[in-house]
């Protein structure tokens, strides 16, 4: 008999209801061994029968279960339980373990958040410090350069052969004055224009008076070093004069615009 024939015949129903003969039971057992899908079908038919007979319009007294249970002996009462309680313990352990892991996970998550915030704050502080350090380094460079300039100027001034020549104001600059530092040995000329007013659209020009004749000693740059502005080299001179000229200067000085004069 084939599996499908057995299913269609209704034998499985009779088998479950207890009406199958010994030969039929034997045959079903053999078929189940060869075709495991028949076991599934038997379970399905059995479930169908139990479902059909478990009608609840006449429900069983709910207290009956405990009443019966009280009259039965269970292994759990007599001997220490083997399989099931081991499973229970393990399940409990797993539950505890998983709950603990979850707690650990959540707390680590928040701890990371806190650390992240702290890291952000520190990063900000480091950036501020770094900017401040760059500013200080630049400031130091400026100061060093300034110190170097002052040192070199001090060397010039402290040279024993240098001459300090005050220039007196006249004409338009009667109340002003300026100073020239001149080293006749090295021909170096330095002009101090710090006390001079800035001329509009004009430029101061320095002249050395050599043997009664004016020699161009260079233009005074209003943007340059006003205290120690290096001028053209002059080897010998009896006097120095400053005139107000057009920007770029003139080849010969105009006597009307002479504003400073000083003898060596």
């Amino acid at each position: 008999m084939k599996v499908s024939e057995v299913i269609a015949s209704g034998l499985l129903e009779t088998y479950i209801l207890g009406g199958a003969t010994d030969e039929e039971v034997l045959m079903i057992r053999e078929l189940c061994r060869k075709h495991p899908e028949l076991i599934t079908e038997i379970e399905r038919v059995e479930a169908r029968i139990i479902e059909a007979s478990s009608h609840l319009n006449e429900p069983l007294n709910p207290g009956l279960k405990d009443k019966i249970s009280a009259q039965l002996s269970f292994r759990a009462n007599a001997a220490p339980p083997k399989i099931v309680d081991l499973q229970n313990t393990q399940l409990g352990f797993y539950k505890f373990g998983i709950a603990a892991s979850l707690l650990l996970f959540v707390s680590s998550f928040f701890y990371i958040l806190v650390l992240q915030q702290k890291l952000n704050r520190l990063n900000g502080e480091v950036a501020a410090l770094s900017a401040s350090k760059t500013y200080m380094a630049e400031e130091l460079k400026i100061q060093q350069a300034s110190l170097f300039t002052i040192n070199s100027e001090l060397r010039v001034v402290s040279d024993p052969s240098i001459k300090k020549i005050p220039l007196k104001g006249m004409n338009s600059l009667a109340s002003s004055s300026a100073v020239i530092h001149w080293n006749p040995q090295t021909s170096e000329v330095y002009f101090n224009a710090a006390l001079l007013p800035k001329p509009e659209n004009k430029q101061y020009q320095l002249w050395a008076i050599v043997d009664g004749k004016p020699v161009d000693a260079g233009m005074i740059n209003p943007e340059g070093d006003l205290i120690f502005q290096k001028m053209k080299a002059i080897a010998s001179a009896q006097a120095f004069a400053v005139t107000i000229e057009k920007p770029g200067g003139s080849a010969t000085p105009s006597m009307e615009t002479m504003c400073l004069l000083g003898n060596v």
């Binding site: 209801l17 069983l60 249970s69 039965l72 099931v84």
Partner: protein, 203 residues
Amino acid sequence: MFQSFFLSLKAVYFSIFLAPKQTYTQDELIVLIRDRDQKAFSYLYDNYSQALYNVVNYIVNDVEESEDVIQKVFLKVWNNFASYDPQKGRLYTWMLNIARNLAIDSKRSKHQKIKSKIQNTGDAVYERNNLFVEDNSHESIGFKGILNNLKEDHRIIIDLAYFEGYTQDEISKKLNIPLGTVKTKVRQAIMTLRDLTKKEFLQ
């Protein structure tokens, strides 16, 4: 981001702590019963007691007596489990046989008492088939009502096969119909019964 994080946490929690109800295969169940495991009794009772009770109550037609029989059934199943042979049939079939036999015994002894009370000794032996013929006053509601909704030939087949445990061959001889027809009718009757109980349940 936080929302999805907590949603996944919730899913993990539910999958761990609210696992679905345990089901056993018959083989697992047998191992547990042999081990005298209380969970096995609980499972047997939760899954089979109502079906067995309906069968028993159909036979004895008395709530208190039926409960008494059910109690005896589970005591016997539990204490005489060694006599169950899985090779010879399903666990449910074995329990059903015990329930059926205890119910029939109970009904017989009750009738016996009534008989002896009225001093009627001439009709002491009850035939199995008389159990239902003499008491046909099943209510038209509940499980019994549903059985009454079966076609007459189906109801008779179910009576014999389910409640009295007749073999197909015995039914065939008793009703004088071919064996093949008996098998088909049992199958059809079970299907109809299942549909009827479903319908009743939905109402």
